[in-house]
Symmetry: C2
Subunit: 288 residues, 2 copies
């Protein structure tokens, strides 16, 4: 049972964790912390958090569990503000989509607490933002990757694992670099393609017409281009090395594909499309 949970960043991710732990009866008190007063007030109204503060030090004082769910670019500042206010029994974890940069940030400004820190990444989300979008079931049957550092204590890992399991999630440990590469492939690259495509079409001369004739598949394909631009800017910068390699390699493949299309190489095209369909169908079957 968590005595005092501090949620730094009360949005979809942070709010849903609070809701899930409440629903599971796993938390006594939840304090929210963030910048936007209206969002925090709404969090109290919705019963997601019991109270709020704009001060990170105040939020984490006396907390035995601290969850940081702010954009990656704000992580370091939040960790710095915690320093000196964390209890000895506090465990700190986060929801950042890139893990190498978060660990660097923590080590840079909160180095007295590395044993208490367990980096994490819940593989869940929607394209909506804010506490209003949060719901208790977001993590049910989803995976949460944790990337403990060499310093993370067994006790801290155990408590973070227990917390996510209480939300209905499966917890998996992964090495940091591996996490950042896998996520660049499965999440960051697709977002770049969706943002990039919609932007490219929006800049075409006949853009109004183009969107008018986009069919059903386009709506699904581009859903992730409605994601939060600031959050994604931060992800790109935080996972820049792995992601830029991934984009470059995919762009090279597209050039090869364009050549196959241009010379009408039906055999090659069919091979690519069939392999993709088989993999995608198997992936969806695996979900069910």
């Amino acid at each position: 049972m968590i005595r005092k949970l501090a949620i730094i960043g009360v949005g979809l991710i942070g709010g849903s964790l609070a809701r899930a732990l409440r629903a599971a009866g796993e938390v006594e008190r939840v304090v929210g912390c963030g910048r936007g007063e209206a969002n925090l007030k709404r969090g109290v109204e919705l019963g997601v958090i019991d109270s709020y503060t704009h001060d990170v030090g105040e939020a984490v004082s006396g907390a035995d569990m601290v969850f940081v769910a702010v954009p990656l670019g704000a992580m370091r500042g939040v960790f710095a503000d915690m320093n000196g206010y964390l209890s000895a029994d506090a465990v700190i974890t986060d929801g950042g989509s890139a893990k190498g940069s978060v660990i660097n940030d923590f080590y840079a400004v909160c180095s007295d607490h590395t044993t208490q820190f367990v980096p994490g990444h819940p593989i869940a989300g929607t394209e909506h933002n804010g506490v209003e979008a949060s719901f208790a079931e977001l993590y049910r049957n989803r995976r949460v990757i944790i990337t403990p550092t060499a310093a993370s204590s067994d006790e801290a890992v155990k408590r973070v694992t227990h917390m996510w399991k209480a939300c209905g999630a499966e917890v998996v440990e992964m090495a940091v670099e591996h996490h950042d590469r896998v996520l660049a492939a499965t999440s960051h690259l697709p977002h770049m393609l969706a943002f990039g495509l919609v932007d490219a079409l929006a800049r075409m001369e006949e853009h109004e017409e183009i969107f008018r004739y986009a069919a059903g598949g386009f709506r699904d394909f581009t859903r992730i281009a409605s994601s939060n631009p600031t959050m994604w800017r931060d992800i790109c910068i935080s996972n820049g090395a792995a992601l830029s390699r991934m984009i470059t390699s995919f762009a090279d493949e597209l050039h090869a594909l364009a050549e196959s299309v241009e010379r009408g190489d039906g055999e090659r095209l069919l091979e690519i499309f069939q392999r993709a369909k088989d993999a995608r169908d198997a992936y969806v079957d695996g979900l069910q």
Copy 2:
């Protein structure tokens, strides 16, 4: 009222047209034509078609409306098989996703009937195939683009327009080259990105793990990669010129994006993502 409708290719597109016209009371008799016996039998069982034949000439004999919904690579053969069997009052239209190639095919092998031919493209579909997947509402509130040729008679254009309106669709006329460019951007390029991405991930060493950690957005983003590979091979070849240009230009943009990510150009990334989000949100608002 259509007296005899011949549907060449009784799948999602052809089957849904038959269902919609029946539901609207706009057709007396529907004859299906195709290769797969099981699919055609199922079409009769489902009441989508009244009877079937494997012979295109027999199917179109006495028909006053002929709808060709076969993969683009099969169009020319079907048109050739019609020649000599078409009634003087028959109107021929199709559902192909590229229009320049279909017109070339028709003119090459069915040149006595060019006044009766009105190329068309219903902007609707799902990732499912076959008559089993067809439904009467597929075209409701969707757009159908027709690209009449210089030879198409006013009467033929009027009858095709009336047919699609009876299915609940909005009919729009467009120049052939313009259609092929707009569709390359909104449909063919997104399909290439989805097929290409899933294929690239499937070929990565840790592909099983990669698909395991793909989040919710990935499922939507890659839905169109479950589309029919043969159909898409044909589309690529039929719209090769416009599509290969579109892919190349997008690959170039991705290279530029990779550079922005690599040098951590947050301002540039935010600008791209924000413009994309605004365009995508406006597009979705426009749908509602």
